[in-house]
């Protein structure tokens, strides 16, 4: 169903229907923005990346091979843009641990937000490759087969890399003293 809808919208775009492209933007902007956000941990960067991705998609829509999923195609553009943005970044200094709030948080919601922030921070200590897998699996809730298709590697490779990525994340969280439960 999704594939049919996307194929129809793409064809309408190719026929010059800008409103069809707006539909594609509305369908995918949230997911793409969130991937960029978790990869960069910066809303401004994520917004810039998302915009650039859609603009490039519009410009190069004619080269999209409709035998593949539209999401796979635009996701690859997103990852290229994201990795370029990360490569352009100057290395940032690590946050002084003494500056991290240690005070108890007043309620459960605040604790949840604190955990989320800590997870975002811990994710940034991983390599972009590890971070991407975590995002696909645990934020977008993609199955191993879907991730394998996006990454162009076998599902067992995805699973193996995810074990390692989660292992590293676990160590990063422990180093930050995060207790989610």
């Amino acid at each position: 169903m999704t594939a049919d809808r996307d194929a129809s919208l793409v064809q309408r775009c190719l026929d010059g229907d800008g409103r069809a492209f707006e539909s594609l933007v509305r369908v995918y902007e949230k997911v793409l923005f969130n991937v960029a956000l978790r990869m960069t941990n910066d809303r401004e960067d994520a917004r810039d990346i998302t915009q650039t991705v859609f603009l490039k998609a519009w410009r190069h829509l004619g080269t999209y091979d409709r035998r593949h999923k539209f999401f796979s195609w635009i996701y690859r553009i997103l990852m290229n843009e994201t990795l370029n943005a990360l490569a352009r970044r100057r290395p940032s200094e690590p946050l002084d641990e003494r500056l991290v709030a240690r005070e108890p948080w007043p309620d459960e919601r605040a604790h949840e937000l604190q955990v989320r922030e800590q997870v975002h921070g811990a994710l940034m200590t991983l390599t972009p490759e590890d971070r991407e897998l975590i995002v696909l699996r645990h934020l977008l809730h993609h199955g191993y087969e879907e991730i394998a298709e996006l990454k162009g590697v076998p599902a067992r490779t995805v699973k193996s890399r995810l074990y390692t990525a989660r292992q590293r994340l676990s160590h990063a969280l422990r180093a930050r003293g995060v207790h989610a439960s």
Binding site: V25, V31, N34, E44, R116, V119, L173
Partner: protein, 259 residues
């Protein structure tokens, strides 16, 4: 932790819910007998719980509008390459392939004959002009311009207003990079997008009503603003270099649009 990879994987499979009932039972039995395993399980349980706290966030307001404004400003319509359409036609009607092949053969033969007899001579194409990628949508002439020079750093700034969009374009020149700070009234307008062109530019920092850019010679940045509540929009631009600082203001009428 010195657990073997296999044990670590079993724990992760169990916590993720991808282990079969038999594997999960086996892992639980092993954990019951291993204090080290239970400690690692607790760590991983925390990790999975933390990952469960990840949630999708709403994109910034106006993102769709900003993307579509950029798409609308694109000079050319998206088109399918000719070979994609041709290959689809062949896939539907394979017999057409023979017809096309015959026609192509005739055309190549005619071309070869023309070249051999001098009737056709290869023409040199003039270089096509390269158009700027940061052309503003709609408006032809800028509503305001400013040239700033601080030491060896120079910046040219231009402001366009088009309906409820303002575009401020800044371009680095001179011999040295400089830092350009742009300030505006956030109640009057808000940033929709930054478009970069050329090398040597980057966003240093931003907050509502203020944006700081590093601009090297040749770096260009166009900043799109959504006009909210204003009959006139104004931007203060300050160029700083190691040897000086200069401030200018760009103002242009916004037509009193109310959103």
């Amino acid at each position: 932790m010195s657990l073997r990879d296999e044990q670590e994987r079993r724990i992760q499979d169990m916590l993720e819910g991808t282990a079969s009932p038999g594997e999960a039972a086996e892992t639980r039995a092993w954990l019951a007998a291993s204090a080290e395993g239970r400690a690692r399980e607790q760590d991983l349980r925390e990790t999975f719980a933390a990952l469960g706290a990840l949630a999708l966030e709403e994109p910034p307001a106006g993102l769709t509008a900003s993307i579509m404004a950029q798409v609308a400003a694109e000079p050319r319509r998206v088109r399918e390459p000719w070979w994609a359409a041709v290959s689809r036609s062949f896939a539907r009607r394979p017999a057409w392939g023979l017809g096309y092949a015959f026609a192509a053969g005739v055309a190549v033969g005619a071309l070869a004959l023309g070249l051999a007899t001098g009737a056709l001579s290869p023409a040199r194409h003039a270089d096509l002009p390269v158009t700027a990628t940061l052309a503003p949508p709609g408006a032809a002439a800028p509503g305001a311009t400013a040239a700033l020079a601080a030491g060896a750093s120079e910046v040219a700034a231009a402001l366009w207003i088009h309906e409820d969009l303002a575009r401020l374009r800044v371009e680095g020149a001179g011999r040295e990079p400089g830092t350009l700070e742009i300030a505006w009234d956030e109640a009057a307008c808000g940033v929709l997008a930054l478009h970069w062109s050329g090398a040597g530019g980057r966003r240093v920092e931003s907050e509502p009503g203020r944006l700081s850019l590093a601009l090297g010679p040749g770096a260009r940045c166009a900043i799109d603003f959504e006009i909210r509540e204003a009959t006139q929009v104004a931007f203060g631009v300050t160029l700083r270099s190691p040897s000086g600082e200069i401030h200018r203001e760009l103002r242009a009428g916004a037509g009193g649009r109310r959103r």
